[in-house]
């Protein structure tokens, strides 16, 4: 599944300072659908090159990280169980920084 991932709020530092990633994520489940939890696992393995604990805690993103899918809060669409679609744009923004 082709997705556009963006890392903001300093999270790009964990991905070799690249803010926007165009990725093709292999579908793991037999249903041919991808849930957000699957994408997070894939990102942790393939994109996060250092300090994974700054991005994730357990199955989900670390508290303080906002997730927007097509400019909408993922909490409105089921969070971890939200289903992603081809060409979705996902943004991860960390709020854990100075002001």
């Amino acid at each position: 599944m082709h997705l556009t991932l963006e890392f903001g709020g300093g999270l790009d530092l964990l991905c070799q300072s690249v803010k926007i990633h165009e990725v093709d994520v292999p579908l793991m489940s037999e249903t041919g659908k991808m849930k957000m939890r699957d994408l997070l696992a894939w990102v942790r393995t393939n994109l996060i090159k250092e300090r994974p604990e700054m991005f994730m805690k357990g199955d989900s993103v670390r508290p303080g990280v906002l997730v927007l899918v097509n400019d909408c809060d993922w909490e409105l669409s089921g969070g971890l169980d939200m289903e992603l679609e081809e060409k979705d744009a996902v943004v991860f923004i960390s709020t854990l920084h100075g002001g």
Binding site: G8, G9, G10, L11, L13, R51, M54, L66, L68, D71, C72, D73, E75, L76, V91, I93, S94, T95, L96, H97, G98, G99
Partner: protein, 246 residues
């Protein structure tokens, strides 16, 4: 059966609309209230709540000169934008300035100062940069070379506080506004409880401090959630420099 289905479909439709306008699709769940809200209502509500805090707490008077402590980070950049917007929209009659402190930390302050310089142009607010070098004859880099990395935060904290006061005096302002938000307030309360600092605990959440000193300071974002401060520019699509505290 049909009635129940009809009701649940209506409920479904209702859940999918903004809680404020009931017209547009929600874009986020407000961290402050957990309400589903669309973009337009979010920035209206965000701005108007701050306006209410300013009014209810009598933070400013017409004709006052106000310096906004601007570090180039998320809170101060959003504060500069929102204050200049509200000043214009509600005719506060304020003279706003940006006040930035250059500690002389290479690779850290340079980028954020660039952001503040951009803000100066974007918002049309005069900028004053006050540097440790000018005030004290030392940059933080030089201090660290002499004392190492252990106690440098103490020096920096003391210098910064004074630098803000001195910068505000140079600008001849009546007040200083900083971007401290609700999360900062909560952290300060917890810190003071853990330290057992009763004296500080009683004062630490005041929205205005230092009224008996030369330059009073206020915190218009006292009730604003940090997450909403991060979302707001994203919704409006403007950017700021960020420093991750990793």
């Amino acid at each position: 059966m049909e009635e129940r289905e009809g009701n649940s479909a209506a409920k479904q439709a209702g859940l999918r609309l903004c809680c404020y306008c009931s017209q547009r699709k929600p874009a986020l769940k407000r961290p402050k209230t957990r309400e589903q809200i669309c973009r337009e209502c979010f920035y209206d509500v965000f701005e108007e709540e701050i306006h209410k805090v300013i009014m209810d707490n009598h933070l400013f008077r017409p004709g006052e000169r106000i310096a906004i402590g601007a570090s180039g980070g998320k809170d101060s950049t959003v504060l500069a934008y929102v204050l200049s917007e509200l000043n214009r929209r509600h005719k506060y009659g304020l003279d706003l300035f940006l006040l930035s402190i250059d500690e002389g930390i290479t690779g850290y302050r340079d980028d954020s100062l660039e952001t503040v310089k951009r803000n100066e142009i974007q918002y049309g607010l005069p900028l004053k940069v006050v540097s440790y070098k000018d005030l004290y004859g030392w940059t933080m880099d030089e201090i660290v070379k002499v004392i190492g990395l252990k106690n440098n935060c103490t020096f920096c904290g003391v210098f910064r506080r004074q630098a803000l006061d001195r910068g505000a005096t140079l600008l001849k302002v009546d007040k200083l506004a900083t971007g401290h938000n609700a999360d900062d307030m909560a952290e300060t309360v917890l810190l003071n409880i853990l330290r057992g600092d009763i004296a500080r605990l009683s004062r630490c959440t005041y929205i205005v401090t230092g009224e008996d000193g030369p330059i009073p300071r206020c915190k218009p974002f006292k009730y604003t959630y940090e997450k909403e401060i991060v979302i707001y520019p994203f919704i409006l699509e403007f950017y700021y420099i960020l420093y991750v505290s990793v």
